[in-house]
Amino acid sequence: MSRKISFNCPVQAGDEDRYRIQMGPQHPATHGVLRVDLDLDGEIIRKCNPHVGYLHRGFEKLAEHRTYVQNLVLTDRLDYMAAMANNVGYCEAVEKLLAIEVPQRSRYLRTMVCEMARLASHLLWLATHALDIGAMTVFLYCFREREELLEIFAELCGSRLTNTYTRLGGVRQDVTHSIMMKLEKFVDSFPSNLEEYETLIDTNRIWLKRTIDVGTVGADEAVGLCLTGASLRGSGVDYDIRKHFPYAAYDFMDFEVPLGETGDTYARYRCRIEEMLQSNSILRQCIERMPPGPIIGDDAPDLIMPNKPGRKVEVDVPAQQSLIKLVEDRETFMEGDVYVATEVPKGELGFYFVSDGNGTPYRMHIRSPSFLHISALKTMAKGSMLADLIAIIGTLDVVLGECDR
């Protein structure tokens, strides 16, 4: 006969009494197929273990079997919120490896689409972040603005999400007058629209309570966790690749890098909002200073490009073969390795290429910011509450397509 009566006190419960939750991979607030393995004590997170890989498509392996030009389309599928920025990052890296010169106009165009992608991505971030915290109206307001940008993308290159706009040595198509008009209209109206969101959440007491002192990371800790982008700058670390290794036409742009101080969710929120205003001003500078000239260099490896002057397209040969041939013919191919990073909306997106003289990369490594941000989740979420975890996932601004590659 067992007569032992146990009075478990849930407050001092041991490990085995913790409440375990698998949050995701199908969960409305994990921004895709992220699974977080949580050990809860009441609502306080004692242990948090993110699991990724549900969207793993093996881009790095795939890239070793495709030519440099073919790989371009893979980069669209990384951070599908800002495919333009990925395109630019990839092209900058390959151009460095192959020593291809890019004409000035296309540099400006790249800067322009990069900043548009940044705005589109940040708007989506603001929308989902606000929705995660419960403000549903901001969500739809942000989509209104994002829609205008996507319309411009569609007019520019025929697609809204997976753009494949840049080419090795330039960009695919020049801007038309109507695109510039639309962009100018957007740039003019954007700051006042942004103010609209701010009236909804910026000084809202509930918003402040939900974001201030949530997911705080100190500057050194943030660097150690390999955070980049606005997630790092929220902690007050001045690291922006656009300033540190200027690419495209960022050399010629006047902009500031907004920095936070406290390193909490609110600081990161403020950082991204300020960043949007800076992007807007860069866009305006692009419109004003856009130089004339060709949009693609003469020595660029060719894809089917009917508009390009002075080069014939061989219609008989299947496109793929001609492409491989052109790339393989290049004499500039060298053995070596190169790492080029660009500032995409999420943070530092880097491509590391190892080339051994073939038309295909020997090894391509993608340094994706989301992957590292998710690994930081473990540290950041510990000890906070379940509702804070959602805010932290939102504030890290992760995209699983980029994380899993």
Binding site: M1, S2, R3, K4, I5, S6, F7, N8, P10, V11, D17, I44, T203, R205, L208, K209, I212, D213, T216, T262, Y266, G383
Partner: protein
Amino acid sequence: MLIKSIFLYCALVIITTAILTVRFRNPVHSVLAVLVLFFHMAGLYLLLNAEFLAAVQVIVYAGAILVLYLFVVFLVNVKKEIKTDRFIASYKIAAICSFLVFVLLIAGSRSFLIGPSGKWTIEAVNRITHTKAIGSEIFSTYVLPFEIVALILLVAVIGGILLAKQDKQEDFSIHKKRFPQLKEDNSA
């Protein structure tokens, strides 16, 4: 006749649910049986023209106390408790205890009076409403016991606050006010 049959129904349900409460294996089901029991007790109060008591019975017992029981049942790992066969090892001691309780109840039941007592006849209660009747009784005749009960509850409240306070320093010490917008906030 109608009143009597309602009383009979309530009494029957009360007895049945009381037994079920003890018999159910699942503690949540037990708590629910108690809920039904409280309801029918409220019904009995209504039959006695005590609608205020009936409403309070539902609000306080069903709405607050029983919910707290449920809380405890959810949070405490009950699977371990279920393994306990009996609380008292010996049948004899158990039998003696129950007999003593039974005797006490029988002895107590002799003091029950049938019909209204004191100055409050049914007509008087109906005239000034039950709520006022209870209020005036509590705050005049029984004011001392009422205050004593209030004091005891106060002790319990202070104890609860103390217990909760210790937890708080452990877990929620991260709230610091740094932003001017939050300055007038007194709830953080």
